[in-house]
Assembly symmetry: C2
Homo-oligomer: 232 residues x 2
DNA sequence: CAGTGGTCTAGACCACAAG
DNA sequence: TTGTGGTCTAGACCACTGG
């Protein structure tokens, strides 16, 4: 049997093959690392690397003392790259434009306070903008920035640099929540995105955190037809 | 300095801290593994493990010979678990029901042939069904199965077991494409999902492959209000 | 060419949890 | 208690690629 790859990836391929061929079925316990290392003629660390990679993708389930099992319901775990919108547009070979619509220091709404877990008197910046591809509205952005966590945002010229791009390089986050949903365009949204009211919109809500402090909460509303794609 | 965690995770934490504190800025090259190992008083393999984990999340950019750099635009890379619908519903404490609507061997449409890369005479099974939560329509499923890649599907009682659950345990895939989008409900979809025509729908299109052969292509249409959530 | 990350090894000890 | 995975080590060689 000629192995396509070398090292731990060869072990990974062989384990995958056995699962795929149903030699090891969902729920089955597979041999322990030491035995596999012996069988494959490599160090246990090499087997460990391979099995850990497979566990990361959800194909295996590993528990100390209990052993390693083929996952009962191989969870489809996808890694999703959330691109910078400018890059996403430019990578399609389209021209990118950015328009700042509004920039206001204001009191957070109740909803925003709840999501960002801040008080009614917290200093926040509300920024709305549009990103355009080939001159056509691509996404509408509605963002709240916690000034307390990134005071320098006040000195940024948001007319010429999107808040996202500045934040990404100046306010690294430690955690984030992201949600995807669908909605229909209100009259206002339709106008902003150059579509008809009632058209379907793809929405991304994202909040990023610096430890326990919210940095920013943003809603991205994509024009009709947007598809987010990835592989498994 | 007391480290919160031990081993490679402590190294990871410290590197993250330096990036976060802007001691190392986006685009900067950081010391090589050997130097960091010396500084942290651990083996190079330990540093390697930590930096590799950070590179996996997109925070670092590593190139042989060139070195390790803080990513210019820390790509937000999210891992997304695509659950079995039954589990997703039951995990919310709701009762789950499944209804097979139609099950036909038929010729694939042009669109399906293109997506699955099969010929006009390929044997395919077309299955439509509904998943219900607490008796209410939750998602409408429109699926095509390539009989050539999983002939045993013909013997499965799809009235009592969803095609997805059977496939997941009997037809492991080697690759998959998945896309998310938004649309508005047609009259038919509205009827099937118990909502009004024109309401917003969240759509997942998924194709899974066994090497170069398509196993199944499915469109999941979620009732209004569905949110897909994850963390960064 | 040579510096860097990528990986392997053999052995060791640790942490966890099942029995 | 004890088997299992989780991790660390020190050293070695390899693979890639920038200079």
């Amino acid at each position: 049997m000629a192995l396509a790859r070398r090292g731990w990836q060869a072990v990974q391929d062989e384990v995958r093959r056995r699962i795929h061929a149903r030699e090891w079925r969902p729920g089955d316990q597979i041999p322990n690392e030491a035995d596999l290392a012996l069988e494959f003629g490599c160090a246990r660390a090499t087997v460990n690397r391979a099995l850990q990679a497979l566990a990361d993708t959800g194909l295996l389930d590993r528990r100390r003392k209990a052993g390693t099992f083929v996952a009962q319901h191989p969870v489809r775990r996808a890694t999703l790259d959330i691109p910078i919108i400018r890059h996403e547009i430019e990578n399609q070979g389209l021209t990118y434009d950015y328009q700042l619509l509004r920039r206001n220091r204001k009191r957070p709404t109740l909803n925003v306070r709840k999501k960002m877990q801040i008080g009614p008197d917290a200093a926040v910046l509300h920024v709305t903008s549009r990103h355009l591809a080939e001159g056509k509205p691509y996404v509408y952005e509605d963002r709240w920035v916690n000034i307390h966590s990134v005071p320098a945002i006040l000195d940024v010229d948001l007319a010429h640099q999107s808040a996202n791009e500045w934040l990404v390089t100046h306010a690294p986050f430690t955690a984030g929540d992201i949600a995807f949903s669908a909605t229909t365009a209100s009259r206002q949204e339709a106008k902003l995105l150059g579509i008809k009211a009632g058209d379907a919109l793809f929405v991304i809500d994202r909040i990023t955190w610096d430890n326990e402090m919210a940095i920013t909460s943003v809603r991205l509303t994509f024009a009709t037809g947007y598809r987010m794609h990835t592989t498994l």
